[in-house]
């Protein structure tokens, strides 16, 4: 295996571990202020939303809201609906794969 790949893996390991461990170490045996807890309760929803939006609205590194060019837009509506109805991770992923495959096939014709 290439030595730069080893460095990549070790580097990624360090920067992955530190943000997970340091708060555990500092905050687990201390009383966290209520205001901080309240603020943090909104973090997951913010992160997931930022991850989704910043991906699906971009096509070829540019914002693209044309539903026939940016093939991710329509499947995203479908997956939102499925996720809302079923609350099930596997169904959401399955319909996601189905939706995006149909769009790719459709636009490549």
């Amino acid at each position: 295996m290439n030595s730069s790949i080893v460095i990549l893996i070790l580097g990624m390991a360090v920067v992955t571990y530190l943000p997970r461990f340091v708060p555990m170490l500092v905050l687990s045996n201390r009383k966290v202020p209520e205001k901080l807890v309240k603020w943090m309760s909104f973090i997951p929803v913010s992160i997931f939303s930022a991850l989704v939006f910043s991906d699906v609205f971009f096509w070829n590194s540019e914002v693209n809201v044309h539903p026939l060019e940016n093939v991710k837009l329509l499947p995203t509506l479908l997956v939102f609906y499925i996720a809302y109805k079923t609350q099930n991770l596997l169904w959401s992923m399955a319909f996601g794969i189905l939706g995006i495959s149909v769009m790719i096939l459709f636009t490549s014709i």
Binding site: M1, S4, I5, I7, L8, I9, L10, G11, M12, A13, V15, T16, Y17, P19, R20, F21, V22, P23, M24, L27, S28, N29, K31, V32, L36, V37, K38, W39, M40, S41, F42, I43, P44, V45, S46, I47, F48, S49, A50, L51, V52, F53, S54, D55, F58, K72, T76, V79, F80, A83, Y84, Q87, L89, S92, M93, G96, I97, I100, S101, I104
Partner: protein, 212 residues
């Protein structure tokens, strides 16, 4: 699977999943390697991408009072989006959910990730897959986790704010740090909205008492 296509051997993939355990980070590494990015830039991007775990780890830490150092170290290493979402919800809704249940969840997710990425490496070495589809699987997963967070109207508003901000900041900064900034601002908006709602409720409660 994507990493294999980026030129990392099956052994390398296994090693990476064991030591790094960051789904999104590994997906990103795959796409950046394919695009010819340098090692330091991938490491820096991984750090920014994983800053979200700083926030997750902080929010779940209060449930881990008086746990031993090895326990915390192992839990931290196996903390991930999916198991965090599950554990956090369980801690808040299920009184019987213990730190042991949480660690078990993490370890299950961890081991299945390591095994499935190795398996994926073998499959990837045998077949060619469409990168857009592979990436979208991850997005579909995030959408489902996002929807499961919509427990009240404030959470939906915060989600929208975070989403719109992330797109705007991505355009402005052209950098993944946009996601971190958007999430921090949006969760602060959520905090302010929640404070306002509580004040309003308190005021209504008083007026009801006055009428009586």
């Amino acid at each position: 699977m994507l990493l294999y296509e980026a030129g990392i051997s099956v052994f390398g993939i296994g090693l990476m999943s064991t030591l790094v355990f960051a789904g999104a980070g590994q997906f990103m590494a795959a796409s950046m390697l394919t695009a010819g990015a340098t090692v330091p830039s991938i490491i820096i991007m991984t750090f920014f991408l994983n800053l979200r775990h700083l926030l997750m780890s902080s929010s779940i830490a209060p449930f881990f009072k008086k746990k031993s150092m090895p326990f915390l170290m192992l839990y931290s290493h196996t903390l991930a989006d999916e198991s965090y979402a599950l554990n956090y919800t369980q801690f808040r809704t299920d009184k019987e959910w213990s730190t042991d249940s949480a660690l078990t969840t993490n370890l299950l997710a961890y081991s299945s990730w390591v095994l499935s990425t190795i398996l994926g490496g073998y499959i990837g070495s045998a077949f060619a897959f469409n990168a857009t589809i592979m990436n979208y699987v991850l997005i579909a997963m995030f959408i489902c986790m996002l929807v499961s967070q919509f427990v009240s109207r404030i959470f939906v508003i915060v989600g929208l704010v975070a989403g719109v901000l992330s797109v705007l900041l991505m355009v402005l900064l052209n950098h993944n740090i946009a996601l971190v900034i958007a999430a921090v601002i949006a969760s602060f908006v959520g905090y302010l909205l929640d404070e306002r709602r509580e004040k309003k409720q308190a005021a209504e409660g008083e007026s009801v008492q006055n009428e009586q």
